[in-house]
Structures are given as C-alpha cells and as structure tokens.
Symmetry: C2
C-alpha cells in the first residue's frame, strides 16, 4: 500500500523563491496570483490525490478495465465516483481561459496539479485533462459552432476526450494513416477506419467522449500533407448540445498491457462515423502537434510525480526495515540487533540520487511552464517568440529525459525493497510497470531525441540553444560568487562547455543523418543533465537568501545543498561520457550495414 | 509470440576457438569432450527450449500458479508435461558426477544449457536444476544415509528441491532467522517457523519436494553463527526411499508478483516438520553459501539468455516493421513508401549495444565456467586454488552486472517495439517483468557489489584482482600486435588503467565502510565493463585465426568486429565515469546523515 505526501512546499518554494513569479506581473493573469490562493489550490489537489485517487490506484491495477459484448468499457471500481468528485471540484477547467469557462490559471500553477494527480493515480489521470486539451485545439482551430457545441462540456468535464492518431501500420510514421474522411453535402464528414492504442476512447466515466481523429479526405495527398483533423463524438450532438444517437464509433478490443490497467487502451472501429473538420483541410498534423506538445509536457509532470511517489515510499520502507548493521555501529548491542536499511551507504546513495533528480526535474518543469506562460501571456511579441523557441527546445527534454529518468528511479526504488519490491503487496512494482509507458507513448523517446537534434537545436541557426546556454552562463557567473555554490558552479561550467562542444558538432548541417541518429539519444541525456545542473544552481542560489532559514530551518537548507552536491558530483559527470560517445558517432562517421546489426 | 534461436554456434566458437578447451586435457572429464557430442547436447537442449519450453512461457504468465485450500499449488497448463519431458531426457543430472548418477559434464558445457533453458522459460526454469544443486550440497556435506535416500531421486528429477532461507524479518540479514530446530532422540530434528519467498517450495511437477532449510537449533548462538542447515522433505521417506506421510510443511500463500507468474513463490509454514541436519551443527551458512554461489552463476547464465531472446525478437520486429524512411532513402519511391525500422540509426545503435553486451557476457560466462572447472577438476592443488580465487571474484560480477545489464537490454528491446512493446501480445514486456527478479533475488545486486569490494577485492591482499588484471594485460599485449585489434587493445588498456586505479583506492583497508558502500556499485559496473572488454579482445583475436573465415564467411567476422568496436567505443568508456564517482566517494569521505537523505 503506497502513501503519498504531495510536494506542496516544494512548489511554493520554486514559485516564490527560485523563479520569483511576482516579478512577472506583465504576464496576463499573473498579477492575480496570490500565494494564499495558490497554496489552497495545491492543498485541495493534494487532498484529492491522497484521499480519492491514490486509494483506488492499486485496485485499479488488479481489476483492470473490462469490455462487454456491446463494446462498452467498465472502469475499475471507484473510478466513476472519483471522476465525479474530480469533475465537480472543477479541476478539468483549471488552465482554461475564462472566456471558455475555465479558471485561467497559468501553467506555472497547473503543473503542480498535473504532478500530484499523475503521481497518485497515473491510470486514472489518462482519462483527465481534456478541458485543457480541448481548449488548446478548439480554442485556436475550432469553428464557432464546434466551440459552442463541444467546448463547454469538455471544459466542465461532463464529457471527456480521446486522441486518435495511431493505426496498426502507422505509429511514429503518421503519414501512413489510412482512415478516410468522406465529405458530406452538409459540410460534415464520414470517417472509416481503425485506430489502435486509443487511451480512454471508451469508458463509463462520462456520458459522451469526443474523439480527435487524424484521417485523410478522399483524394488528398498521400503522406502527412494529406492528413486532416476531425472531431467525432461517440454520441452525436444536436443543436442544443444534447447527445442523440450513437455515432459509428465502436470499441472492438481493449489491450492487455504491462501496466496502467485502470486505463482503457482501445482499438476503435470507425464505420461511417459522423465528424467535423477542425482547422484547415490537410493541416491536421499542425493542429495535432499542438496537442502532442501539450501532452508531452504532461508526460514530464507525471513522470516526476511517479518518481517522487517512488522516492517517498522507498524512503519510508528502508527507514522502517531493520536489516543489517549500520557502518557506524562499531559495537553491536546484540547479535539480534539490526539497524534500519536506511543506514546503509549504498541505500543512501540510491535515495539521494533519486531525490537529486526529482528536485531538479521539478524545477525544470516549473521553468518550462514559466516559458510557456510567457509565450502565451506576454504582451511583448518578441518576448513571446523567444520564450516559445526556448520552450520548444525543452519539450523533447521534458518528455524524453524526464520519463526515462523516472523509470530508472522507480526501478532503483523497487530495488531498495528487496524481494518485497517484486511482489504486488507493497505497490512499488506497479509504479515500475505504469511509468514505463511514458518513455513509449506520445512519441517514443528515440523520436524525441531526434527531434531535439535535427529540429530544435538547428532551428534558426541554434537561436534557442544559444539563448539557453547564455542563461546558464549567467547563472554560473552568479553562483560563482557564493561560497557554498562556487564549487557547484565550477562543475556546471565544465558540463556546459561539454554541451556546447556537442551542440556545435551536431548542429553542423553537413553532418550525415546517420550520425545525427546515432548521437541523438546521448545528446538528449546530456541536455537534460546540463539543464538539471542549471536548475540546481538556481535552487541553491535561492537557498542562500536571507529569509530562507528563518522559515524552514537548517535541515531544509542542508538537505537541498546535499542533493545539489550529489547531483553535481554523481549525476552531472555523465555529460563527459555522453560527449565522448557523440564525438565517436560524429568523427567515425559510423556506417553500420543493416545486415551486420 | 516470441521466437528463439539458441546460440549454439556461438557456444561452439567460444569453446573451440576462443577458450580452446582442447588445451585443458589435464582436467578430469575434459579429454572425453568431443565437439560432436557437445554439439548434439546443445542441439537437444535447443530443441527442448524451442519446442517445449518457449511455447508455454506466455501462457504460464497469463495463467499464473494457483493455490487451493489444502495448500496445493497447481502450475500453469503444460508445465507438468514439460517437466516430464525435461526429466526423462536426463537434463537434471547433466553436471552431476557419475558416482552420483549424473553425466559429469563440466560447467563449460552445462552453462550453455542453463542459458537456453533460462531464456526460453525463466519461470519454468526455477523448478529445475536441483540435481546439480543437491549434488553440490549433499555431495560434500550430506551423511551417507542422506545421500543414499535423497540424492538419486533429486538427480533423476523425480523429486525437486527448494531453498528456504528468507523469513519476513530476515532477508539479506539471515542472522535474524527465527525458525527453530528441536533435536529429537533419534538424531533428527523438528522445525518450526515460517519461510517466505520460497521459489518452487510447493507445486505439482514432482511427487516430493526436498527443502533445504536454514534454522537455529534451540540454545544455539543468535546471529549467523547459530544457523544450521537442514533437509526436510514435503513427504517423509522411509528406509527404502519411498514417500510416506506428509511432513509438517504447508504452503500458506503464494505471492502475486511482477513477473515469473509460472513460478510459485511460496510462504511455507513449518510445524514440527521432520528434518535432517546437513553438514556440521552451526555451520549452516557455510553450506548455504556454496549453494548460493551455484545459484548466482545460474542467474548470470539466465540473464544472458533472456537478454539474447530480447535481442533476437526485437531485431526481427524492427526488420519487419515498416515505419519511416531510411536516412539513405534520398528520393522517396512514394509518400506511402516506408522502410524497415531497422534502417534507423538509433535503432541500429540499440541493437548493436545489446548484441555487444550479450556476446561479451556469454564469453565471460564461459571463461568463468572454465575457471570453475579448473577449481574442481584439476589435479594441481595450486592451479585449483588460483582458479577458485578468480572464480570467487567473478561470481558477484556474473550475478550483479549481468542481471542489471540484461534488464536494461530487455527495456531497450521493448522500447524498439513502440506501443507494441507495452502490450501483452508481443511477449517482450513479459521478459522485462521476468528478468527484473534476477537483480533482486539470490542476494540483491547492492549486496553483490559490496561483496566484490569488501571481500573479493581485498582477499589475500588482492591476489585474485592482480591475477585477473595481469591476464588482461597479457591479452592487451597480444591484441596490440593485430592490425584489426590494436585500436581495441588501446581502449581496453585505458580502461584497465582506470580499473587498477579504482581497485587501489578501494582496496585500502583504512577506507571507511561508508565510502566502500557508496562506491561499491560503481566498482561492480566498472569491473564488469573491463571484463567484457577483456572478453572482446579474446574473441577478436580468435576471429583473426586462419580457419575462421573459411568456416563462417566474411559477414560473421565483420559482425563480430563491429560489435567489438561498438562495445569499445560506446559501452567501455563508462569506466571513466565510474572511476570519477569512485574518486568522489573516496576522496570526499562523504558523510550523509540519514535524516537528510
């Protein structure tokens, strides 16, 4: 049985002391941000997480979803009631603009909520968040009629949504999508085809489900340039917004998966399904990518949440598990005396490494959210543009680096349980199985790495990279002035130099695609490490501020400095290895014939 | 559905060309080793693996074992029949001395069989191998009466065995074991207590199960010095070896686990269970450690097997999965054209890294087996002693490094399947769940790492380490003479120097236990990498031999050289990172107060 203490104080510290959000009063909505309000939102989200979502997480895994002969999916016990509570509390419209019925809270606030909900019940969370997603798509690309019919009920959570991209033959390569859209006389379309790996495309939590479907209008070009995005509801909706007849959308099967058993992963059959075009014809990919990027940020937040949950539970387990003697126990009280496993240095190392990752990663999430807010809420076009470029650079890192790191951390946490980590009762093995999906879904991490090198790094002759590197350089300079941070700054400076070298090698447009592909994963990890080091400099420079100790006490400061040190001494040096591999890939011009692989 | 091609040719190459086992004719049993015989044994094991064990692996996972109210365990469909075939073919006595009814095949031959069986059905394999295990214990420590009563039927596989160490409060810390043994007037004992995590302690494959139980005789010392080893059968055995009444050993529960669902992990209740002492009173740990070391070698072989299975299946999947365009496809045949995923450089990188690990690891298994054979079969006492020391040094590496590596490889292989890797149908996610246990069971890998540094490295002032390092040095010298291997040798030389530096730091007896603990895991990985590099030099120097190409063709040679290169360029450089972390741990004398962790 897992327990969870959502990191509220952490987020407040990051918002107030590290990223000083009070200084961004020029951003729309920021002047209204009152820390008491923020804290009470975090407290409410934490309560829902601890008292409603976490208690049904384990049984959801054991029960799984089920599919009946009529194609109806039943979610595990408790999910329906939890969804009702979640919806009635208004969480689904948290980040949605007020004009669309939401609460207009900026990303810098909603990120914490994403982490808490994702941590406490990753499977349940996959049904959620469609208010924000729908507002993201329909807000910009939906026709007035579509917005009026669908947005309010998606924002209120009365209806949920689902993303229908993948087909059996078209995974990463969406250009191979075969689902067709036939134009009708009234301007709507009829969809025909089969979609797979549709999370939440059928369930019993809401009275209707709105599917966002990539399909090809008859006669359109093959490949990605012929794809359009459609909205197709499970139940057709009349002009008053009432659900009417069942649409031609049927759940043919649900997947049996490694984890996330509480989330229905559906194979969906579209048979003359009524649908509405969203955005321009043949511009489906552009619209869908907006949603995908939104999803990728979610992945990062959930990953950090699950990693935090794993950390908290492993720490509690080893603190209570009496096994072996501490190295400091020179004289044994008796042969039957045992110290907590926490006293073992190797156990401390594992916990500190996880904590050092989590805390740095959380700061990265908040910083990215701030950039996203700037890109959406600043009145200064050039500031918006600059923030958007940097945010785009960070997106594959949030998705790829944080999900892989979270998985590794969950495995390490599981290891600390010994045999009890492998059995179902403690709940930790479920986290390993659940979090594993985050490296695969929403664009597999190999694809994220390739996107980072081949698009984000090279875009505008490296403008985003240079802006980020310059910011890190300024922080290094600032941290070099503090006696407790100068050593950390020196280490980050070395890593930054390595990252700049790697970036220079990989930004070369003459480099072969093969070399880029081989080096991309190393570059993703290296980038993630340098960014987390940057975050640790940010954090530790805030810890030095005058008011810090008075509010939190010595232990809190010491704990952060210890984690920073562990990050810089043990995790960050991996950048040298990554650079070396990148150099090998680039300089050797590795040609690996397929038949020898 | 997984497929499997057991690597027979690989093993024959390693035995004949790399380790040249014909040159060890002074070892008892080696002169009888005929390569035709060996090949036919491998072929038979491969057939059993492919045709009997693999086909029931997936359904075993889906069905799991079940426990009825009388405490009887039913194994998944097909396991009983498979066990009958396995037993009747005589596999259980393969490595057992002839005097004990076995076939006396040396470890250098049986290792391949371990790999094949473990790969094709890891869960099933956990019920097997008790002929060898029982011979290991009873052969040396059993009284003549015990040997006579139990050994023949364990060697024939008519009965199976089980190892009963762990109790709820006593995992790694076996000194906390509470199970009691009360001496009886007739020289036997009565056991009382509860054991957990007992793999195969109850099942329907054999008519009797022989439990090897660590317990404390009443009045014995607390801690490990008061533990004795007992043999307790599920059914008592009369003087003729016939099973009679049920003993006081009951399966109270079976665990629900992350994987290995086909293997029953039992909680066993001992209630006045009749038992026989094995070995000397209070020497239980010594005897049990012999069995544990035997098990740890098994873990290494199974790990490599599962990693190989993951490699083969992922390679086949990506070769058949048409998705995206190869970098070499400059002009697209059409927008709907897609190349095999195998053409993606990042995919090639993943596969090559797995293959480079597997092939090096397999060589390490064979070399370790040769050392074990020398330690058991040489007539020269000093050669035996030297081999035993080196083998003991390698044991934690086989267990810890190979199991962690195999898990990472299975995760990478799963990643190559994209979404199909997360669903049950392809079978790859099962491998991730199953192989995960190997890092936890038979002494968690953290314990292996600590054993390597604190015992194996320091034993006899580092004699085993020095012998191994000297051997690597000689191989480097030899490989430096070959034009195709000199570059590989240079890289291994650099890694060797780093390893020697780390070993020197950690062998210092003045070093704190805390520093040893923090550095141990890095040292384990570093040692594993240097040893695999050593193996790659061995392999590539054999590839240069005259007869090689004629038999296998250019591709085979090129494939091995490519893997060697990938290992040396991409995997081996991690030694520098590991050394750096070890230096940080040692030089900073890291003191991490528990309350800050």
């Amino acid at each position: 049985m897992l327990h969870y203490r959502p990191p509220i104080a952490e987020y407040l510290f990051l918002l107030r002391d590290v990223f000083k959000i009070r200084e961004y009063s020029h951003l729309q909505g920021y002047p209204d941000l009152d820390f008491n309000l923020i804290e009470s939102i975090f407290e409410e989200a934490a309560t829902l997480s601890r008292e409603v979502l976490l208690p049904i997480n384990g049984q959801g895994d054991r029960q799984s979803c089920s599919l009946d002969r009529e194609g109806r999916v039943t979610t595990p016990q408790g999910f329906k009631e939890a969804y009702r509570i979640y919806r009635e509390a208004g969480w689904t419209g948290l980040g949605v603009p007020e004009a669309q019925g939401g609460q207009n809270l900026p990303k810098i606030v909603t990120t914490a909520v994403l982490e808490f909900f994702g941590a406490s019940n990753q499977a349940f969370d996959m049904y959620c968040g469609w208010g924000d997603s729908a507002a993201t798509i329909l807000g910009q690309y939906g026709s007035p009629a579509l917005k009026e019919l669908f947005l309010p009920r998606l924002v209120s959570g009365e209806w949920s949504g689902s993303m229908a991209l993948t087909e059996a033959q078209a995974g990463t390569d969406v250009g191979l999508i075969k689902t067709t859209a036939s134009p009708q006389a009234n301007g709507t379309f009829r969809l025909n085809g089969t979609k797979v790996f549709n999370s939440g495309a059928e369930h019993d939590l809401t009275s209707n489900i709105v599917h966002f479907v990539l399909a090809r209008v008859q006669g359109a070009l093959p490949g990605v340039r012929g794809l359009s995005l459609f909205l197709a509801p499970t139940f057709m909706v009349d002009a008053d917004g009432e659900s009417t007849s069942r649409n031609g959308i049927t759940c043919a099967a649900i997947e049996s998966k490694m984890g996330l058993h509480g989330s229905a992963t559906c194979e969906m059959q579209y048979t003359d399904a009524g649908a509405y075009l969203v955005g321009e014809l043949n511009q489906g990919l552009t619209v869908m990518f907006r949603l995908m990027n939104h999803m990728r940020r979610r992945v990062g937040a959930i990953a950090v949440g699950v990693s935090e949950l794993a950390y908290q539970n492993a720490r509690e387990y080893v603190a209570g598990r009496l096994q072996g003697r501490a190295p400091s126990t020179t004289t044994r009280a008796s042969e039957t005396h045992a110290d907590p496993l926490l006293e073992q240095p190797d156990v401390k190392r594992c916990l500190l490494q996880i904590a050092a990752f989590n805390e740095g990663a959380r700061a990265l999430l908040v910083w990215s959210s701030l950039l996203m807010d700037i890109s959406e809420r600043s009145s200064d076009a050039s500031e918006r543009h600059d923030a958007e470029l940097r945010y785009a650079f960070l997106t594959p890192v949030l998705k790829g680096f944080l999900s892989d790191g979270a998985f590794a951390n969950c495995v390490t946490a599981q290891q600390l349980y010994g045999g009890y980590g492998y059995v179902a009762g403690t709940g930790i093995e479920q986290l390993v199985r659940d979090v594993r999906l985050l490296s695969i879904a929403e664009g597999a991490n190999g694809v994220q790495a390739f996107d980072l090198v081949s698009r984000q790094l090279r875009k505008g002759r490296g403008v985003a990279f240079r802006a980020i590197a310059a910011g890190i350089g300024r922080q290094i300079e600032q941290s070099s002035g503090g006696p407790s941070t100068v050593e950390l700054a020196n280490r980050e400076a070395a890593a930054l130099a390595e990252w700049e070298r790697a970036s220079m090698l990989l930004a070369d447009p003459a480099l072969s695609q093969a070399a880029v592909g081989i080096a991309s994963s190393d570059y993703l990890y290296m980038t993630g490490l340098v960014l987390l080091g940057f975050m640790w400099l940010h954090i530790t420079s805030s810890v030095r501020s005058g008011s810090y100790d008075a509010e939190r006490g010595d232990d809190d400061r010491s704990r952060r400095l210890l984690r920073a040190q562990v990050f810089m001494e043990r995790l960050l040096p991996e950048t040298a290895l990554r650079l070396r591999r990148i150099e090998e890939s680039v300089l050797n011009l590795a040609m690996w014939p397929s038949h020898l692989v």
